[in-house]
Subunit: 217 residues, 4 copies
DNA sequence: GATGAATGAGGATTCATTCAT
DNA sequence: AATGAATGAATCCTCATTCAT
């Protein structure tokens, strides 16, 4: 079985290389989230990142062409994390009101659990043409429109409805990161947004308080 | 006109100088608003400011001790503008719902008329420590609480109510600056926020649509 | 005369500034020629140049965007120097053979007198798309063609004639810089090129040896 | 074909390895010639070489201890090529004029056929310390002097004669690489050089046009 | 042997601020 | 007051070379 051995070796080596590369990259991204949460978004230099990750200057550039590229990658990682939490829940219901509530609650919950990631998310929304937020935005847009068609929402301007939703989420995340918030803060925010979108208060509060399966990770 | 020139008093000269000084300073601030609104707080360099204002490097430092000082002055200018526009209207009513609606409508209107100032505003609000946002925040806080006491609002968490208000305003200004918006956008936003705060839809829309005295400038 | 004083002051200041700027720029170029002659073309870094010129790092970048830009400017300076020497002499004759001889002799003489400058010239010819050499090349081209028409030259391929002229000049400058050469080296080179271009040996040597007005500087 | 594979002797395997080793080494040198011919000696990085050769970084260092070693090997390869083409022809005649003509024609022809090698040659000649140019230089020197003794040449300065020969060859190769040239370009150049060295035009052109055995490779 | 991740010294570049004119 | 040349600390970026797998 010599050939197999040979080929396995090749594969194995490739895989090890692959793993190491992936690990270093992941470490840099992880470290970036930490450092940003500690020292803010603008202050940290490439030097700070590599010092925290304990890699050489050149190693950084083996993975990212610039500071910005690292930050974007980090934001992408956060987006993936959020997606992984929200998408399974979206499979459970097609009620736009519920979906909006789920997204809002999950985003805020995640930001409370991982303030670094929430912070980065919020900082990236204005920046980068919204690479991160775009996906979120598209999802929200879709639910706002179908909710209107189904009579769940009663907004009079899509632009305004979008501003309400995105603005409130953003500011709520910001609050959740920097101040202590009540345990049901995510639900409270979700309910207010639904009310703002035209749902009766009682129904909004009911939908916003529906039990949610716990995240696995 | 030589005689007139000669006969100019010291005072007159001082005043002319004063005027010029004021004008250059104002020009620098104006230019700063533009540049910041386009490129954010951190990106622009002093070179960008002096190039846009077409003054020499040294001149800049005759007016501002540092880059930060210009930024603060620019923010202060926006605060003054806001004060001049909104405070007089606040004298007209003590209904918290009306006051919140007035503030929201005025902020957005002003941002449409002076996108540079709106842009700076939007950049400052998240910093939440900026003079503008603090004052605004206090005002909003006060109205939210008294509105609750008077039964006009029915929020369940002050933090959440604040996030809804501030977040929606911020995002609405952002939209108003960068996209065309319907003429009644300010009112629409105001109505949605009031609904979110627990007012019945009909009443929210009525209050948000009350006629407003035109701004002077 | 206050106004006049004021305006003279303005002019004077502008002029002083202008002078200073010009002087610093010239100093950097001068220093570049020196440093290159001492340490070669490739070795010196920007640090070496600014140390030799005794200016700050930032000052360098006030004048040149990159190391290459300095080198190109230095080469341009050399080209100007040569032009200043050759052009007046070109006014004295329209005989293409004489003009070719003058150009060759002057380039080599200059390189013997200022080896730094000659060296830079030779190094820049392959580089920079020939910004430096292009002018020279055009001049030579013109004289080669008109010399042919007038029956002074008898080459059979313009390309080949150009290769002979430019190649020989380049290599002669190189030799003149790095080895001791006989006093009449410039004339010898000129004569050989004219022979190569098809002039009879005797006539070539006569034209190449015609007395030349001494340079002023 | 398993049996055959199995029955392969150690020697055979060694030879295959040897071949592969030789091939990879040759590929690196070949690629180096290309890259150097295009971008010069200094510009290309090891990354450029390994990317063009499509080998891993470590593989490069299995064959060459340093970047310089590759450059030297590449130059050696060109030297070998030149030797193989020109030396056999030198056995055919002892007339210095013919030998100079042969060398010139062969160098240019070879550069047209193998532009990469010509490019490297041209880059090396000015360095004059390169193995190729030294050998060539010695050969040319010898022929120039014996040609003078035999009355075939009539130069007045060996230095100048050398500059004419080497400079013209260099520039002619450069032209032949980068522009289309007439078919008899090598002969034209050879004739001009011989004329420049003092041979009568008619005789120079005759010698330069003598038929040459075709190269084998 | 082949691989490619990691290294870090060497150099390039920016930009807020000072200061003589 | 206005000017703009000069400064240099802080930071970025490249690339030849090493070495564990």
């Amino acid at each position: 079985m010599a050939p197999r051995t040979v080929s396995r070796t090749h594969e194995a080596r490739a895989k090890i290389g692959e793993n190491k590369r992936t690990r270093t990259r992941a470490a840099l991204i992880q470290v970036a989230l930490q450092v940003i949460s500690e020292r803010g978004f603008d202050a940290p230099t490439i030097d700070d990142f590599i010092a925290a990750a304990d890699v050489a200057r050149g190693t950084f550039y083996n993975y990212f062409k610039s500071r910005d590229e690292l930050l974007i990658a980090a934001a992408g990682h956060v987006a993936d994390t959020v997606d992984a939490e929200i998408l399974p829940l979206f499979a459970l219901t097609h009620d736009p009101a519920q979906r909006v509530a789920i997204a809002i609650r999950k985003f805020i919950e995640m930001s409370i659990r991982h303030p670094d990631q929430g912070g980065l998310l919020v900082r990236m929304i204005p920046l980068s043409g919204g690479a991160v937020s775009d996906e979120m935005r598209r999802g929200v847009l879709y639910d706002l429109e179908s909710g209107q068609k189904l009579g769940r929402f009663k907004w009079r301007s899509l632009q305004a409805a979008l501003a309400l939703s995105m603005g409130t989420i953003t500011m709520a995340i910001r609050a959740a990161i920097s101040e202590p918030t009540p345990e049901n803060f995510p639900e409270l925010i979700a309910a207010m947004v639904l009310q703002g979108l035209g749902m009766p208060a009682r129904e909004a509060q009911r939908v916003a308080a529906l039990p949610l399966p716990e995240p696995v990770a």
